[in-house]
Amino acid sequence: MSERLSLGLLDELEAESIQIIREVAAEGERPVMMYSIGKDSSVMLHLARKAFHPAPIPFPLLHVDTEFKFPEMIEFRNRMAVEIGFDLRVYTNRQAIDSGANPWEMGTVRCCGFLKTQALLESLKLGSYDLVIGGARREEERSRAKERVFSFRDIHGQWDPRRQRPEFWQLYNTRMHPGESMRVFPLSNWTELDVWRYIAREGIAVVPLYFAAEREVVERNGQLIPVGKDTPLLAGETSVQRLCRFRTLGCYPCTGAVASSAVTVEEIIAELEQARLSERTTRIIDHDQDGSMERKKREGYF
């Protein structure tokens, strides 16, 4: 009577994700996993290791580096690549950076267009990747709530939400013509809390920025924006030290921190169980206008 045959929530999510990742490895001609160094990426990396253990992960990990990432993220990325031994590839839209692209002067929409969307599409084309694993979750944002697990993209990397392939059972249709591709989302059904509970259960390493510390920030439009080496302060603004942490990680000029004293994974979970604000309130780029994520997704963003 001691055998437990029912699966808990995390067991079920894990099993589904592993199945999806294996399907990508088996059916992709040139599969790749996007690695953005955040908590979702850390979970995805862990699931990929589980899917193929004891063999190594059979596809490369690709990081699109805008060069506006927090230094702690880059340090963490390089350390993980060595410790775990995955094939890390980094791509930067060098041309845009050299001509001075930055969110402060260019605005977030255009900056993202160059350094993220365009860089992503170029890097995918360069590698001729066909199945591209990403860490997006349906819970995050309402246009992401509409995504398939295997999401078809045309030869220009565009998403057409009206023409999505139906997706029955776990029978994923990966058939494509040359040049077409798919974005694949093994964490589709995970929530922010699931991610943290799984990090706790499995003891997964994450970037220290997720934990509370005294950080130099400036309050702007109700957000705590971290002050980096080159962040321009507006008239009347002064930077302050605040005890805070990050709920999501992106580029430092565009990612707000939240006031928090959570210094362990367990404390983060306890904090999120009480949270009244959604995860992406701190992502400035999501709030430019109604439907901005959908617009970016149509153009090829994740």
Partner: protein, 623 residues
């Protein structure tokens, strides 16, 4: 407390029945919306009136918000202290039936909406039909906009009756009807005004309590190999997801289609070795012998193999712009295998409204019909009813690569006598097909227990059904196939012709005992929940079932306590003289002299009672 489980449900129904509004209301009242999302709703509400437009929560695409319709499925996630939910809000428009079917193929439960004013629409029938076809085992029918019909019970019953009549023809029996008003939230999360006549549960508490884990097939072990995991010179294993049944370390397995046999040396989930793997888990298996196994192969137990088929008979939901035509060539994905197939014949198209069958030459977008395919490479398949994963496939366009249809495999039945052309299983001497030669010992080995009947007796209100269903749940979770025979439920069907005279009561018990015996012989543990007030009747039941298997459990709770609970209001009626021959009030109860277990539910919690019973069963297995 154990980790909460997951309920995957979809909402379906016609356009403007208020599906998105209901989901919004459910999330809002269950406190599952973040403050910034609520604030954004208030900002987007174009009308400027105080009511929030909940439909904006799930209609995530601009085209949807502009037109006020749902084009594609939106997935929403929320949790209560009882359970985690994944809600698929499916489109109502006929034009987007394929997206609705996408949601249906992943759901444990369908929440179907009907507009109380409009009544049962063609679309609500179409959706019920697709849900039934895809094997969703339970339906909640929310009859919405009750405020617009003056909260009329007559209107509610009228729709309920009409819908039940339709559902019966689809073979659906597990239906729950709830009158709601999504705009005001009546009966969604909290009870509402104006419907005092409705004594049932609210929508949320139904969703929290409905039991779904028992849907899994834990009998037929099937592992489609997704990928060979190979570390040269060190390790060779097979990665895949157990789609049904369970596998233990040391089990003998057979690889299909080759028919090679070997033994399991290890099972792992990632870096973690495990002793047993069950349906739903993604595992890596390694075998004793270095035999040829590749992607698309299937691992099974040698005594329980699926059929090899060169032809597939299927019901289809057609989702492609390209039609299905007889003679057409298609790609098929079944389990972890791609192959090609020719459509031989299209038997008929079903009109989901009338359920009539039309003779057609092709199936077009949103059609539902039956067809037969000849496969270029044989597959190992089960019937969908028995095993969803090996009983389903998708049809994909050879030229365009679009997903054209979803198919569920059906076995030939009498009305398709002309199709009796299935070829025999090719000669493969080590693949055996057993039929009717199974001993009880063999069944017990598969079940992992000795079958028994736990016979619960006690006064009305002592907690028999509560304990019975809780015990059933615990046993199923522990992998022991079992079933509850409940007094009320049996009197709805098998024993509907019986009353409550001592003679009828005896016959009631006799029939139940016979059913319990059959179920025990099939290997199930049976739990019965009947007042069964007379010693002689219980004695007879014990003889029918077999003394060694008959475990008598007396729920010895005092009548004062049962009467205080009065869950069904029977004691009140009996005291008022409205109910004759009621046990404990106007009819006798003869307690057992030496039951195997005695439980006083006034003193024990449900968990205590269950633990005592489990302990007793454990001793029984080992005796």
């Amino acid at each position: 407390m154990s980790e909460p489980d997951l309920l995957h449900f979809l909402t379906a129904g016609s356009v403007d029945d208020g599906k998105s509004t209901l989901i919004g209301r459910l999330l809002y009242d269950a406190n599952a919306l973040y403050d910034d999302h609520v604030a954004a709703l208030r900002r987007t509400a174009a009308t400027g009136n105080a009511e929030m437009d909940f439909s904006l929560i799930t209609d995530g695409l601009r085209a949807e918000r502009e037109q006020g319709i749902t084009i594609d499925v939106a997935y929403r996630y929320f949790a209560t202290s009882r359970r985690r939910f994944i809600v698929a809000d499916a489109p109502g428009h006929e034009q987007y039936t394929r997206n609705m079917a996408t949601a249906a193929s992943h759901a444990d439960l369908a929440l179907l909406l009907i507009d109380a004013e409009q009544g049962v629409s063609t679309q609500s029938k179409r959706h019920a039909f697709i849900c039934a076809l895809l094997g969703i085992p339970r339906f909640v029918v929310a009859i919405n906009k009750m405020d617009l019909v003056g909260y009329s019970e007559e209107r509610f019953r009228e729709i309920e009756t009409e819908y039940r009549d339709f559902a019966v023809r689809l073979g659906l029996s597990n239906l729950q009807f709830i009158p709601v008003c999504a705009v005001s939230g009546d009966n969604v999360v909290r009870r509402g005004n104006g419907m005092a006549w409705y004594a049932g549960t609210t929508l949320l508490s139904y969703l929290e309590e409905v039991y779904v884990a028992g849907d899994r097939n834990l009998v037929d072990f099937r592992l489609p190999v997704q990928r060979v995991i190979h570390l040269p010179g060190t390790f060779r294993g097979f990665g895949g997801r157990v789609v049904s049944g369970l596998l233990r370390g040391g089990d003998e397995v057979m690889v299909l289609p080759s028919g090679f046999r070997s033994r399991v040396t290890s099972i792992a989930i990632g870096m973690q070795p495990v002793g047993t793997a069950v349906a739903g888990q993604s595992i890596t298996v390694s075998l004793e012998d270095d035999i040829d196994v590749g992607r698309g192969d299937l691992l099974v137990h040698p005594g329980n193999v699926p059929r090899e088929r060169r032809e597939l008979e299927a019901m289809l939901v057609w989702t492609g712009d390209e039609p299905l035509v007889a003679g057409g060539i298609y790609q098929i994905k079944h389990a972890a295998r791609w192959l090609k197939a020719r459509c031989e014949t299209i038997s008929y198209r079903v009109d989901p409204n009338t359920l009539s069958r039309d003779t057609v030459d092709s199936l077009s977008l949103n059609d539902i019909g039956r067809a037969r395919f000849t496969l270029f490479t044989p597959v190992l398949a089960d019937e969908y009813r028995r095993n969803r994963a090996l009983g389903s496939f998708i049809v994909v366009s050879v030229s365009g690569n679009d997903t054209l249809g979803a198919a569920v495999i059906v076995d030939r039945t009498d009305y398709d006598a002309e199709l009796k052309t299935e070829r025999a299983v090719p000669d493969r001497s080590n693949v055996v097909w057993h039929e009717g030669q199974v001993t009880l010992a063999a069944r017990s080995a598969v079940m992992g227990h000795r079958p028994a009947t736990v016979w619960m007796t006690g006064l009305s209100g002592a907690g028999k059904s509560t304990v019975a269903f809780a015990l059933e749940r615990r046993l199923i979770e522990a992998g022991h196939p079992c079933f509850v025979l409940d007094g009320d439920n049996v009197r709805h069907g098998l024993n509907r012709d019986l009353g409550f005279s001592p003679k009828d009561r005896a016959e009631n018990i006799r029939r139940v005992a016979e059913v319990a015996r059959l179920m025990n012989e099939a290997g199930l543990i049976v739990i019965t929940s009947f007042i069964s007030p007379f010693r002689d009747d219980r004695e007879m039941a014990g003889q029918i079932i077999g003394k060694e298997r008959f475990i008598e459990v007396h729920l010895s709770t005092r009548i004062e306590e049962c009467e205080r609970r009065d869950v069904k209001g029977f004691y009140r009626k009996a005291r008022a003289g409205e109910l004759q021959g009621f046990t404990g009030v106007s009819a006798p109860y003869e307690p057992p002299e030496s039951p195997a277990v005695r439980l006083d539910t006034e003193l024990l919690t449900i968990d205590d009672s269950i633990n005592i019973l489990l302990q007793h069963l454990e001793n029984y297995y080992e005796s």
